[in-house]
Symmetry: D2
Subunit: 342 residues, 4 copies
């Protein structure tokens, strides 16, 4: 309440609160009175009270998500994927080209990833592009290429479902359905992803708060799909030395409030090849459950984002570095052998 | 190029440029050499060159949009809507509740808007909500209410198409199809909106640059739909005194580079009723072609965003204030009379 | 408190609160208990409680400023300056070159400002420059030029005190001491400005919240100087179409919580001449008590920021536009005549 | 140039460029002509050309700093401090309380730091505080306490020089002079720090770009002081899960363009104790040359920022973790023994 709120104004707020079936708890302070509201299950709309006379501010003290929170489920959610127990001690490495360009290109890169110890193949068949004149991806043809490459290499596949039109196709061909950063608040797509029968890799929007990321995941869990992997991929800030600012602190922040696994995508954050490995190391060190990186053997010919793709030698170097890091962080990067059994 | 780039490295860049059918123009400076690239029609992927030895940076100097630009079309795009020539001297006023809640509520508010001189009715039937537990809108039922209220009042209707599933329904019932801020980079939806046969109101994403807004509109125009109205509704920044920061400078910035009309939505930027009128005045003064504001006669009972909705008296005050402003800005707010004739 | 906080943990928080001489008010909710803290005069350090077992979060509900707030003083602070009653109905226009370059340049521009109806002359003698190699201002020589130009034209002078070393000189020669955006949190300078015997023009830092601006002003008022004019000059965001984002909403936000006058500087926000007039109109329309703009008659030869300076014809146009706006906003731009009397 | 720029307009730009003693290089493209400007040593003011007819945009392609850049000096700057060769393989650990509160408190914490393997003692004697009513530090008394604690423990001392008034005192008592984030663009202070005869620890401003950080350091090097340590401490963004967003990518970005060492301050970025260790690990993994962290043995009684200070056990854990990380990153944390010899 305002400092000069009258007793009548305070009573007015109390009545309004009670008229909504909630409980009002006035607390008289040295300078002003506050009215605590309790009895609500979900979020209370601030608009119900903000315009009453004498009210200074309405402050939320509860968080609006449930299923994703550690208060709802204390232990980490874990599930097996590509021979990796995501959410446990294992570190997951997802790698591949930005776009699927051809069977040969995808196979070559997938073989490199497999031989270097990566666990999943990524590659865009449907590409969200800022300009209508940029390459938009091979579409269903790209999905089929990914499936053939999986057959050839054994690497499970993750690829983006750009919209609800293609979600079923993606869920048919891919092992994990990716929701891109630009679609993090595409609620229809989130709900459908919650019904698609596949694990979902949900990327944080580049202007989303951690609370909004939690709520986006809540849409998926609310449809009965608990197999969600979150992904920090950088936020938009005023800086210009990277394309986006990798918000590594979001990873322990998510870990504290949620039981869901979270990985990092240093490639999109960096936007430039030379910063990908340092950011990958930082992500593992801060506690990420894995990495998603772009790799290309001929980045100069890549149809999209070639300048952020690691070269083959760099990917091998990355795998070595994160194995070393894992060894001192009480984590591990599962090897091919352990992945053969399933 | 880097200061220490060798002649061979410069030649390497020139060869790469030429191998892509483009022309390389080396410019030797006092400290370093730059290589200008010309001959391209669209955007050149920086990745084609960024990784070559000796290259310091790839800097874009052309803009990647065409159809929306004033270089493509010098005169303002104008078209008639609700008796207003949007893009010309007229100021358009779109108003209504955040959500369509019932026929009675919507009719009451629409009559107020009409009698106060507003031109279009807004109201959400499909609501994008951060939380899956918030009210999600009445859906097609809401569209039918909007159509009935249009019949009763004569006010054309604008409402949001939340996804491609509902776009056809929205285009059937509404006069203008709105693409919301969270969907500004939902490219599938943009393309479909370009084919829907209705004018499109495209809201700027809360983390979108003006260039990205231009490119989003380009997706719509590229499908043959030239009737696009842009809308500035605030960007996400570090501040906390409003929900978003209304970027009024985006309005003259858009006017300079594009022929498309642009309006402002001060309600979503403010997030609080008491700042809506000042921001509406600022928007008109900076050169917006109109306003979109939320109005509710019982905001305390509103199912969404009640605290940012203007009260009826405030809406009347707003209309008076912008009429006065229009009179000194060489603009006008068309009255009922002038709108009756069509 | 956390949902699973034990009664002992709640008691622990209550004891800690009471051990600091404050009052603890536990409020039991449906899902969790909150503990309201009252009895404090200033701000409570969150660290005192955040680390106690069972504590989820410490949320501030009081604001940390006093002297600047409307709760402390309900009526606007007003005082006369250059024939203008700042903080009342009058609109103040401060104009001049970015830097004082010579007596002749300053005089020419000052005469233009005076004849067009501007009230105060601005001009930098000490320039804060990002690069050590840029022009740093004429120093005390510049102050003397400003004083001579004031003598010749009658226009009072505002100029920046870059540091405490030059504050006394600035206070001796200038009528208003400016604290620049980069110095908004230079607390030593703020305190000295509070003791300097001159009104202070305090610019908002480009990453400062409104609360931080309030607290910066509080430093000045706390030293007994009540003559503070605040200035919104744009904040740093991710956008690139202006140098900074003019946060016009900060103006009504400040007006609501503080009794101090606030003006706008559209020149520094825009960074480009063609957006200064639209932003100036927006600032007046949103409720600013005045404007500060850069004007130069030979901007191509300006030693700093020439591209954002209005040309003489543009300044005349600006004055005409804001006189018209003032006429419909219940405000006025005092003319020369009214300023002659004192 | 604009697409529709006339030959005369292009000639006009060429003439203007040449009139400033520079060389103009017109490059005709498919759609427009660009004019490259060469022959400049420093930065060209865009305002010189931006307003000429036909000009669309002025784009900088050179960077405005010299002494700090790797183009000027290819090898890392290294120097010895507290037994650590900063800028080389060694990792520097600076630790201590936010504020110096008493000799006993400072000594206790310093002994903990020393016995755990930290290298330098930090502690504020002059505190920059947002509110005039917060604890402002013990001043010179605090400096004397730091000096006594150094005598007792052998740990060199770093502390902030809040303004030019206290710089000499700080330089007298401290081993390294810190320039705080709020003062990163306090140019007078930077210059004096360049003359103070002590190494300088320069913190990045919370809204500073990497280029601006480079230029701030340039001010210090330009005065002949090459012993500058940069410090990333988080930037201000829209997020709310940490106080500031630790921009770990700034560290490899600085390393690429500058020869100066750079450390990270995870305490101020986090704002909460539980995220300090993860962010410290990320900083070391990304390539920082060291860490600065806050430690307090009685954080609940701390006079400032107690909730971000590590507890003694946590500091010991941090030292163990970074020793392990160093072992796999080809770096080392020098031990007491190696530091005894000087």
């Amino acid at each position: 309440m305002r400092m000069d709120a009258s007793p009548d104004e305070i009573d007015g707020v109390v009545s309004r609160v009670e008229s909504h079936g909630l409980k009002a708890n006035p607390i008289a302070g040295a300078q002003r009175t506050a009215v605590g509201i309790t009895g609500n299950i979900g979020v209370v709309e601030p608009g119900l009270f903000e315009s009453l006379p004498g009210v200074l501010e309405v402050i939320q003290v509860s968080h609006p998500y449930k299923l994703v929170s550690r208060e709802f489920r204390a232990e980490n959610t874990t599930f097996e994927i590509g021979g990796v127990e995501i959410g446990g001690r294992d570190l997951l490495v997802v790698a591949g080209p930005c776009s699927v360009e051809s069977f040969e290109q995808t196979l070559r890169i997938a073989e490199l990833i497999k031989s270097s110890g990566g666990h999943l193949l990524r590659g865009g068949a449907f590409k969200p592009r800022t300009s209508p004149y940029s390459f938009q991806g091979l579409g269903v043809e790209g999905l089929k290429i990914l499936a053939r490459v999986r057959e050839a290499t054994g690497l499970p596949v993750v690829t983006e479902a750009l919209d609800i039109d293609v979600l079923d196709d993606v869920a048919e061909y891919a092992d994990i359905v990716q929701i891109g950063a630009r679609n993090m608040q595409n609620y229809t797509l989130l709900r459908r992803a919650g019904q698609c029968g596949r694990p979902v890799l949900l990327k944080r929007g580049m202007n989303a708060t951690v609370t909004e990321l939690m709520l986006a995941a809540e849409y998926i869990l609310d449809q009965g799909n608990e197999h969600v992997i979150l992904c920090e991929r950088g936020i938009r800030t005023f800086t210009d030395h990277t394309r986006n600012t990798l918000d590594v602190a979001a990873i322990p922040a998510v870990k504290r409030i949620s039981h869901l696994p979270i990985i990092a995508d240093p490639s999109h954050a960096a936007g430039q090849r030379d910063k990908v490995i340092p950011l990958a190391r930082a992500s593992v060190a801060v506690g990420a459950d894995g990495l998603m990186v772009e790799v290309h053997d001929k980045p100069d010919e890549a149809l999209s984002d070639g300048n952020q793709a690691l070269l083959p030698d760099q990917f091998i170097e990355l795998m070595e570095e994160i194995r070393l890091l894992a060894s001192v962080l009480n984590r591990q990067v599962p090897s091919q052998a352990s992945r053969q059994q399933p």
